[in-house]
């Protein structure tokens, strides 16, 4: 059996927010999440990620630090960073005509109540000026609360995507 275990697959169509719940457990320390975006409505808009605690609540408190390197095909690269903000980065300034894209995220230690949850990601898509852009992303949620799921949301408009959550198994 593969040490990369598919835990959940969810396909959503034209939603503003999508919660994937009860996917993190003591079975895994590292999770891999793939996000295939097929549609985004409302241009110049961001897609972001929040964590869900064991009570099922989406955490929107100012507890996230994040940074990304935004690499654009038609213009200069850009840096973005925030401390004490309310979500992790995913996609930004999405285009509604060229509105597909992809993302690969890793979440480290979400279920561990002695550790913060760390985020690594790489994403791509087209921005509102129709420039291809790719991002390298880091993040940390600075609270040791147990995390059991995550929420993708759009700042405005809706999106369609298929999201797969895998656990990286360690057999000791």
């Amino acid at each position: 059996m593969s040490n990369l275990r598919l835990i959940n697959e969810t396909t959503a169509s034209s939603v503003a927010s999508l919660s994937i719940t009860d996917v993190f457990s003591a079975d895994f320390d590292i999770y891999k999440i793939t996000f295939a975006l097929t549609d985004k409505q409302s241009s110049s808009d961001d897609l972001s990620i929040r964590l869900i605690n064991s009570s099922g609540s989406v955490i929107s408190a100012s507890e996230y630090d994040r940074a990304n390197l935004n690499m654009k095909a038609g213009s200069s690269f850009a840096e973005a960073r925030s401390t004490g903000t309310t979500s992790f980065f995913s996609h930004s300034e999405l285009n509604t005509s060229n509105d597909s894209g992809g993302a690969l995220s890793y979440l480290f230690n979400p279920f561990n109540s002695s550790s913060y949850t760390f985020h690594l990601a790489q994403t791509d898509g087209y921005d509102s000026s129709n420039n291809f852009q790719s991002k390298k992303i880091i993040g940390v949620h600075k609270d040791t609360t147990t995390i059991t799921g995550f929420n993708y949301f759009a700042d405005s408009g809706t999106f369609s995507a298929t999201i797969r959550t895998y656990g990286l198994r360690v057999d000791s």
Binding site: S2, I30, A67, Y116, F118, I138, G139, D171
Partner: protein, 171 residues
């Protein structure tokens, strides 16, 4: 069966060790290394790696690397090195609780004694400077045409206090 991630080796550190070595690379597949909750015993220092040949870490000046350092609180930085004796991956890593390091590293052509061994890596951690979020995105190359069978990790000063390290084969 193709299309799997197969665990090759793992080590969980619960009391301080000078280094962690994982071996078992014995095919021409791509290998993936994952680490999480890594904490040092002193700070600030660098978390670095070398590659092993027949289980022994090669510390000769045959590593080149280049990566981008990302910071949540300050401007990003370029890090490069040529003819170094290790790849300095996480510079400024810490020993204070919750300043842990996490990352994913891929290894290419390791088993091929006619090729250099290449690595790509992405990491995220809270550094020794007040626990600021930092990460590394880039890669390295071991410029020796030999068969590499594993990887060796160390904190450049002090020891590794904790962490889980796992080597997988991508088949």
């Amino acid at each position: 069966m193709a299309g799997q991630l197969v665990q090759v080796a793992t080590e969980t550190v619960t009391s301080a060790v000078a280094s962690v070595t994982l071996t078992g690379i014995d095919s021409d597949d791509v290998y993936m290394f994952a680490f999480t909750n890594v904490l040092g015993t002193s700070e600030p220092t660098n978390f670095s790696y070398r590659l092993t040949e027949s289980g022994t870490a090669n510390s000769t000046s045959n590593y080149d690397y280049a990566f981008k350092e990302l910071f949540a609180g300050s401007s990003f930085n370029n890090r490069t090195g040529t003819n170094q004796n290790r790849v300095l991956m996480n510079q400024g890593s810490g020993s204070t609780a919750l300043e842990t390091q996490q990352g994913i590293l891929y290894i290419y052509n390791a088993n091929n004694s006619s090729e250099f061994t290449f690595t790509t890596f992405e990491t995220t951690f809270r550094n020794a400077y007040g626990g600021a979020l930092q990460g590394a995105q880039g890669g390295g190359v071991f410029t020796v045409t030999s068969a590499v069978n594993g990887i060796y990790f160390q904190q450049d000063s002090g020891n590794i206090a904790s962490g889980t390290f796992t080597l997988y084969k991508v088949v």
